[in-house]
């Protein structure tokens, strides 16, 4: 079958090139549209030793104080969502690399491979990703706050993530027509890889730019070094 050869051959290369070129483009675009700026030094309390210290009302090192502060973070306010999204993103990024079949294909074509887990373990990881997708879907439909900002593209995004995992596990266990399943798996995987730097998945790149490079209220690390324009 010609079309099958195409999606298993040149199309794979094309989607990876698309991904790397797109990512490079986004990073270059960011650097050319932003300018470097020094961050204002963060406020630091000077310890003036000559002044008599006032008694501390709050013990900022105590466990209870730290716990109270932790409860104010997004992990403390919405632990279910944060736990799910952490597990989701880790398994999502990890699983494709440790699937045995992927590593065999990699070894055959390029002579490299990553460590693989047993088939049962990979099945579990795939089911975790799918379960997280179901959780996000349920949250979208049931939580009024999330529903208020949901657009059709959010459902498409979830579908695009779930499709390669679902078709992959079905093909692996020969459920349904194998040829159709494996083609659907390859195509949906390729579509997702190509879409990463251009669609809503752009958050994969911009998470790091927003949180570590741009200067704003919530910058992590050293506090950022660039601003827009």
């Amino acid at each position: 079958m010609r079309i099958f050869d195409f999606i298993n051959g040149p199309m794979v290369w094309f989607s990876f090139i698309c991904f790397f070129a797109g990512t490079l483009y986004q990073v270059i675009a960011f650097y050319s549209l932003s300018k470097s700026r020094a961050r204002h030094p963060r406020y630091q309390q000077k310890t003036d030793l000559t002044r008599k210290r006032e008694p501390e009302i709050l013990d900022r090192n105590s466990l209870s104080y730290r716990f109270a502060m932790f409860r104010l973070t997004v992990f403390g306010r919405d632990p279910g969502m944060m736990l799910t999204t952490t597990i989701f993103h880790v398994t999502l990024l990890l699983t494709p690399f440790i699937v045995l079949a992927h590593n065999i294909l990699l070894d055959l074509s390029m002579g490299i491979s990553f460590p693989s887990l047993s088939e049962g373990a990979t099945d579990c990881l795939i089911l975790v990703v799918l379960a997280c997708c179901v959780f996000f879907l349920a949250r979208r439909l049931l939580v009024p706050q999330v529903r208020a900002i949901t657009t059709p593209s959010d459902f498409l995004m979830l579908l695009m993530v779930a499709a390669p995992f679902l078709t992959g596990i079905l093909a692996c266990h020969q459920i349904g027509n194998y040829d159709i399943m494996i083609s659907a798996h390859v195509v949906s995987g390729e579509i997702m890889i190509m879409a990463l730097p251009f669609t809503r998945f752009i958050h994969m790149i911009y998470f790091f730019i927003n949180r570590f490079i741009l200067i704003h209220e919530n910058t992590l690390g050293k506090g950022g070094s660039r601003v827009w324009r």
Partner: protein, 130 residues
């Protein structure tokens, strides 16, 4: 006394302001996962009994998001609605927290700038007792 008709909305001017910061607006709107995790960080949202209309992302999507989607071709009525969002539902306290690092106050202030350029501004005398 004659009541002057308000001038037409100058969508070219709006586009000019918007285009200067196009990439910032586009990637912010695009990378927002619509996850509502920012909701709890806005004190106004919590004062208003968790009304979704006060969520930071809701305010961004319905102000600068609308203006961008219409490429600046908004009517005066729409712009007045946006004015009420960006002045009455947000005080630009910069305390909102988005895990993806979207700079919400910066986008809201851009929407305010666009409203101001069309003379659509918050009436600070509103409700004042004469």
């Amino acid at each position: 006394m004659t009541i002057q008709n308000p001038p037409e909305i100058d969508s070219r001017k709006i586009r000019e302001i918007l285009w200067e910061r196009k990439k910032e607006v586009v990637v912010s709107l695009k990378s927002c996962a619509h996850c509502a995790l920012c909701a709890d960080s806005c004190f106004l949202y919590r004062c208003r009994k968790n009304d979704p209309k006060y969520m930071p992302s809701h305010k961004v999507i319905n102000s600068i998001g609308t203006i961008y989607k219409k490429k600046g071709k908004v009517t005066r009525a729409e712009l007045e609605e946006i004015r009420d969002i960006v002045w009455k539902r947000c005080v630009l306290c910069t305390r909102c927290y988005c895990p993806l690092g979207i700079d919400i106050p910066s986008l809201i202030s851009l929407a305010r700038q666009i409203c101001r350029s069309q003379g659509v501004v918050h009436d600070f005398e509103e409700g004042k007792i004469e």
